[in-house]
Amino acid sequence: MFKNAINGLFTFFYAISQLATLTWEVFYRFPLIFKNFDLTVKQIRIIGLGSIPLVLVTGAFIGMETIMQANFQMQGLVPMRYLGYAVSKALITELAPVITSFVVSSRISTAIAAEIGSMRTTEQLDAMYCLSLDHIRYVILPKVAAAAIMLPVLVIFSELVGYLASIFIAYAFINVTMFTYLEGLRLFFYAPDMVIGILKTSIFGVIIAISGAYFGLACVKGAEGIGAATTCAVMLSAMLILVFDFIVALIFL
C-alpha cells in the first residue's frame, strides 16, 4: 500500500519532468517557426478557425448564464448599476477565458493526441527520425504555436458574443433598464483585466497543445492506446488550465 503510493508519486513526478522537458524542447525551437510558417498557418486554420462555431455558442451561453447568476445573487442587495460591473468582471477575468479554454481543449487536445498518437503507432514519427526530420519542429511546434496564437483570438470572440448575449438577456428577461446595464458595463470596464484575461489563454493554448502532444507521443499501439491518449490529454489539460489560472490570479489580481 505504502509502496504503491511511493510508486504513484514517483510516476507522477516523472511525468511532470517529462512534460517540462517536452515544453522546453518546444520552446527551444521557437525561432524555427518562421522557417516553416506555412505549417503554423495550416494549424491556425485547423485549430483556430475550426473552433469558431463552438466558441460562439459557448460564449453566448457563458454571457447569458453569467448575467442570470449575477442578477440572482444581487437582487435586492446591491443597486442594479452594479449588475454590468459584476458581469463584466466575471466574464473577462475568469469565465470566458477558462470555460472557453475547457471547451476548446476538449476539441483540440484530443485531436492532437489522436493525430500524434496515430503517427507514433504507424511509425510516421520513426520515419521522420530516419529522414533526419525533427518531429518536434515539424509536428508539435506548429500546433503549440497555433494554439498559443489562436486561443486569445477565440476568447475575444467568446467575450464579444458573451457581452451581446448578456445585453440581450438584460433587455428581455431582467428588470433593469438598458441604460443602467450598459452604463454599468462601461463605467467599471478596466482594460488591464481584459488584457490579462486574454493573454493568459495563450498559456492555456500551450497547455492544451502540449498535453495532447505528450500523450500522443506516449501512445501505445492500437485503438485502445489512442483512446487512452485522448482521454489523458483532455484530463491533463483541464487540470493544468485550472492550476495555471490560479497561478495567474495569485500574481495579477
Partner: protein, 301 residues
C-alpha cells in the same frame, strides 16, 4: 589498395542483444556488410528481423553488443543515441508498413526531406519527385493522399521517399511482400540499379526466397534472435541444415537425389526433378534415386 578498402566492412554487427522486458528478442546477432553489397535477411515472422533493422537505424537502443559503421561504434548500450545523429543521414529505411505521412500528398511526402535538408530549388525537387515516382513504377500519383493508394503502391512510395535522399546504406523491411510478381521484379531491378549507379549498400528483409536468390550477395538467416546461417545463395541452397532447408523450401515436398555408389548426394526440388533425370546434370550421379524428404537420409543409405 582497393582490395584492402573492400575488406573493411561498412557495417559490422557484433553480439547484438535486444530485450523487451524479460523477453530477449535478439540474442546474439553477428554479421558484416561490405560496401556495395546486397544482403538479404530472412527468418520466420516474429523472430526479430524488424527489431534488428531498428537497432541498426538507431530507432531502438541495443541492450548488448555493438554496431559499427566504418569502424566507429554507432550503437551499443553505452553509446548515447545523439552520437548517431549525423551518421543517420547516411542511412535510409523503408518501413514494413511504408509509414507515409498521412497528412501530406505523395509529392510532399517525397519532397519533405529534400526541401528541408538539401539546397535544391523547388523545380529541381519536383523533377526528382517525378523521377523517383516513375522509378518505382507509378505515375500521376503526386497529388493523391496516402490513403488513396493501395498497400503495394504505398510501399513503393515509401521506397521512393527513402532512396530519393540517396543514402549510403539502404535498409528495406519487406519491400516486396505487398507486390505482385511484376512489381517485385521491378523493385529487385531497382535495388540492383542503385548499387550499379551509386554503389548503394542494401540490407533487405524478405520472405521472398526467389528474390533473395536473384539479388543477394549474401543471405543471413535469423532464428529466434540468433544468426543461424550466413552465406551466399549458392551455399544456402546446398546447406544440409534441416531447418534452413525447411525454411527455403517452405511446404513444397522436397526430394533428395543421391548416388548409391559413393554416397555423393544432391538436393533436387520437385521442379528440377524431371530435368535432373533427363540430363543427369548432377554430374557423378550414376544411378539417380529419388526419395521423399520426410524419410531421413541416413535410413535410406
Amino acid at each position: 589498395m582497393e582490395k584492402t578498402e573492400q575488406r573493411k566492412p561498412i557495417l559490422k554487427i557484433e553480439h547484438l542483444v535486444k530485450n523487451f522486458g524479460t523477453k530477449r528478442v535478439l540474442k546474439n546477432v553477428n554479421f558484416e556488410v561490405f560496401a556495395g553489397e546486397i544482403v538479404c535477411v530472412i527468418g520466420q515472422s516474429g523472430h526479430g528481423k524488424s527489431v534488428l533493422m531498428k537497432n541498426i537505424m538507431g530507432l531502438m537502443h541495443p541492450d548488448g553488443g555493438q554496431i559499427m559503421f566504418k569502424g566507429d561504434v554507432i550503437a551499443s548500450p553505452t553509446t548515447p543515441t545523439s552520437k548517431y545523429d549525423d551518421v543517420r543521414q547516411k542511412f535510409g529505411l523503408l518501413f514494413q508498413g511504408a509509414a507515409l505521412f498521412d497528412s501530406m500528398t505523395i509529392e510532399d511526402n517525397i519532397a519533405f526531406a529534400l526541401r528541408e535538408r538539401t539546397d535544391f530549388s523547388e523545380t529541381e525537387i519536383h523533377q526528382k519527385v517525378v523521377k523517383s515516382i516513375s522509378m518505382v513504377g507509378l505515375n500521376n500519383v503526386e497529388h493523391l493522399m496516402p490513403a488513396d493508394l493501395s498497400g503495394g503502391m504505398r510501399s513503393r512510395v515509401g521506397l521512393a521517399r527513402a532512396v530519393v535522399m540517396e543514402p549510403e546504406i539502404m535498409l528495406y523491411d519487406e519491400p516486396t511482400s505487398a507486390l505482385d510478381p511484376i512489381m517485385t521484379d521491378m523493385v529487385n531491378d531497382l535495388i540492383l540499379d542503385l548499387r550499379q549507379r551509386l554503389n548503394m549498400t542494401s540490407i533487405i528483409i524478405t520472405h521472398d526466397i526467389s528474390s533473395a536468390y536473384k539479388i543477394a550477395d549474401k543471405i543471413v538467416m535469423i532464428y529466434e534472435g540468433n544468426v543461424v546461417f550466413n552465406g551466399t545463395p549458392g551455399e544456402i541452397r546446398s546447406s544440409r541444415d534441416p531447418y534452413v532447408q525447411k525454411f527455403i523450401r517452405g511446404n513444397r515436398k522436397t526430394y533428395y537425389a543421391f548416388d548409391d555408389d559413393d554416397g555423393k548426394e544432391q538436393n533436387v526440388d520437385v521442379g528440377e526433378l524431371q530435368h535432373a533425370r533427363d540430363t543427369r546434370k548432377f554430374g557423378g550421379i550414376s544411378s539417380l534415386k529419388v526419395v521423399p524428404k520426410a524419410v531421413p537420409l541416413e535410413k535410406i543409405r
